[in-house]
């Protein structure tokens, strides 16, 4: 009986702990969403309350009036989804090449890829601006896309995943006479779809939310993304919290929707993946 009680106790404790973690994780979102529906003076009042005393959509209306929301959403979608596609493809190809093919200069090239991951954006953004200016792609979609075609982190991660696929699968394909490209496309890539999807959603999220990068490389409000919209209510001395929070919610919802869909797909993929080997 004692063992049974111990077991029940441990289940209870673990569920309890998880619920606390869940609350900590989710509360800021709940607060964000509820506060976006409050009047400005209710957001920063004393004593603070989570629930709004009275509801208002005025913050969202203010966003709509002040920002070209549709244009910004369009730009954000174009920028993030295109980089997501190219990233998934190029990172998979790059990861595969590093993991499965031995070629001359491999270690140097891989070191080169890693190095590009080790310097923060603030350091090279000015030279980047100058290079884009010299090439002539400032303030354009191409200018936003080309530097972000690939992601060293993604290449690194997919290299690990491709590396863990047993050689036997690859050898079987080779014996069947398939060339490198077919092996990659028909055999290896499908096996790593969950990992590729992970990279995909990470790229989507990072580029969707990025502020500094699109801001410095574009010159007109027509090219700006949603993340800029967020910063538009944060003045140097005055912060309009209401519209900022509403803008944060607006920027968050499309990502959440995408995440919900990809999530189901992703989990199923992980469970069924041939990585179990």
């Amino acid at each position: 009986m004692n063992k049974m009680n111990k077991y029940k106790l441990s289940i209870f404790l673990s569920v309890f702990t998880m619920c606390i973690v869940l609350v900590i994780v989710l509360y800021p979102f709940i607060w964000l969403f509820l506060s976006s529906l409050k009047f400005e003076m209710d957001i920063v009042k004393f004593p603070p309350e989570t629930l709004p005393e009275r509801l208002t959509f005025s913050q969202y209306i203010r966003d709509w009036q002040k920002l070209p929301l549709l244009t910004m959403t369009r730009n954000t979608i174009i920028f993030s989804t295109m980089t997501t596609f190219t990233n998934c493809l190029l990172c998979a190809m790059g990861g595969y090449a590093f993991a499965r093919i031995f070629f001359k200069g491999k270690n140097i090239v891989f070191a080169f890829v890693l190095i590009s991951m080790m310097v923060p954006f603030q350091v090279f953004m000015i030279p980047l601006y100058i290079i884009e200016y010299k090439i002539g792609i400032l303030d354009s979609f191409l200018g936003l896309l080309l530097p972000r075609l690939t992601w060293p982190f993604g290449i690194y991660m997919l290299r690990s995943f491709f590396g863990s696929i047993p050689k036997s699968i690859e050898e079987a394909a080779r014996i069947d006479g398939a060339n490198e490209y077919v092996i990659f496309w028909r055999v290896m890539f499908p096996l790593c779809i969950p990992a590729v999807l992970t990279i995909g959603i990470m790229t989507l999220v990072n580029n969707w939310n990025d502020l500094a990068y699109p801001l410095i490389l574009t010159n007109s409000i027509q090219m700006r993304t949603l993340s800029v919209g967020l910063a538009m209510f944060v003045g140097q001395r005055v912060i309009e919290y209401g519209p900022t929070l509403a803008a944060a919610v607006v920027s968050l919802i499309p990502l959440m929707i995408v995440y919900v869909f990809l999530q189901k797909f992703f989990v199923r993929g992980v469970v069924m993946s041939g990585l179990k080997g």
């Binding site: 502020l211 410095i216 910063a231 538009m232 003045g235 001395r237 005055v238 912060i239």
Partner: protein, 420 residues
């Protein structure tokens, strides 16, 4: 014969003068339809008013000038400005705090605006000489004022009443100020008598009124290690020590506290006015307390129009048109009444609507006591960021004494100035 000759010479002179004047006109009027880019950092609600004004300008101006305004946070604008100017992709017109004029002009990023007043034909006497002087650098004009403001004392009238003080009578001098602040503080209710952020700007007001200053008059050495300065430092440190003011807050944090009714007295620029109205605070606004001897001298700061070196001659003239439009009575009056920034143009100050506006008439009288700190010194931001503000922070966190603070600041300031 002589007469005819004389007559011909006269005619020739007159004709050539007309032609000369005419050609001067041609160069300095703008081509129709010129487009200029305009960057500034007016995010938040004053940006909305700015946009409205410029949308009207774009629609109505007779020369068909199109102003393409790009508003982004100041930090991002500064990131982009320098490199865009150096690659000639910079904007024509910008707004920037006047404290940036010395270093931006030194770096060659700005065009000289010395010919603006003559070109515009505006009456320079109409504008406050204090203010115009503040935007000069080395006797040259690189910035034309867009707005100018000082700091003002705000007080929460409800909290005054609760503490038994007359809500219409703010403290007039340092002693009253300290006394009121103590009476208005209540740690049990988390109420602060006077709240301040560890920023040199607010303290400058008290420093000057008390007779001290950051630098010597010729800007060559520090003058901060003086008994007057140490007195002011002690006053502020005591505020932190006695919990009359919270520690470590930023300006934005304190604005929130004031809006939440937790701060009885607060010193800030005019941007608080709109927020107070919105949040329903019964507030009073007036002059910062003078020193006990009655001396008052306050900080002046502002935002200037500047034209970058990326602008062509055409665009420069178009920008001049924009600036001239801004300096007109109607626009300045609109900015004053809608945005709350004090008027510095006499015709606006004389306007009956402005005079009727209690707040604006009050603010307008303070401008004459203002000057700009570190005037004309390119190293000012370095001195403030590296030495003054961090040491003030240590002071409020009770890590050093007021005299130590003054000594360290003196050391730091002289170090920077030595490298000039």
């Amino acid at each position: 014969m002589k007469r005819i000759l004389l007559f011909l010479v006269l005619i020739t002179c007159m004709v050539s003068m007309v032609f000369a004047a005419g050609s001067k006109e041609d160069v300095s009027t703008v081509t129709k339809g010129t487009e200029i880019s305009f960057w500034n950092g007016f995010t938040a609600s004053d940006g909305d008013i700015l946009r409205e004004i410029f949308d009207r300008f774009n629609a109505e101006n007779p020369q068909d000038i199109k102003v393409d305004m790009d508003i982004m946070p100041w930090a991002n604008m500064l990131e982009k400005l320098a490199v865009s100017v150096s690659t000639k992709t910079g904007p024509t017109l910008i707004l920037l705090g006047l404290e940036n004029i010395p270093e931006y002009s030194e770096s060659g990023a700005l065009l000289s605006l010395n010919d603006f007043w003559e070109w515009s034909g505006l009456d320079k006497e109409n504008y406050s000489p204090n203010v115009l002087k503040a935007f000069q650098y080395n006797n040259n004009t690189y910035g034309i004022p867009m707005q100018y403001n000082s700091h003002y004392l705000y007080w929460n009238k409800d909290l005054f009443k609760e503490a038994g003080l007359d809500p219409e009578k703010p403290p007039k001098n340092f002693s009253e100020f300290i006394e009121y602040a103590e009476r208005l503080s209540d740690p049990t209710k988390e109420q602060y008598g006077y709240a301040f952020a560890a920023d040199s700007a607010v303290i400058t007001n008290f420093l000057w009124s008390n007779g001290g200053d950051w630098l010597t008059a010729d800007n060559t050495k520090s003058a901060i290690n003086s008994p007057e300065a140490i007195q002011v430092f002690k006053m502020f440190q005591d505020f932190s020590k006695n919990k009359i003011s919270p520690t470590g807050m930023t300006g934005a944090d304190l604005d929130n506290l004031f809006y939440a009714g937790k701060v009885a007295m607060y010193i800030n620029g005019p941007w608080l006015i709109a927020g107070c109205r919105e949040k329903g605070i019964d507030f009073g606004i007036g002059s910062i307390p003078a020193s006990d001897s009655g001396n008052k001298e306050f900080i002046g700061t502002g935002v200037a129009f500047m034209i970058t070196s990326s602008a062509t001659e055409e665009q420069k003239i178009a920008a001049y048109e924009v600036i001239k439009y801004w300096l007109s009575k109607d626009i300045l009056k609109e900015w004053t009444l809608r945005n709350g920034f004090p008027a510095w143009s006499q015709e606006v100050l004389d306007d009956p609507e402005v005079q009727k506006n209690l707040i604006q008439s009050e603010l307008g009288t303070i401008t004459q006591y203002t000057r700009v700190p570190f005037e004309g010194l390119p190293e000012s931001t370095q001195i403030l960021s590296d030495y003054v503000n961090p040491i003030l922070e240590q002071l409020t966190y009770l890590k050093i004494s007021p005299s130590e603070a003054a000594e360290k600041m003196e050391e730091g300031i002289n170090k920077v100035l030595k490298n000039r």
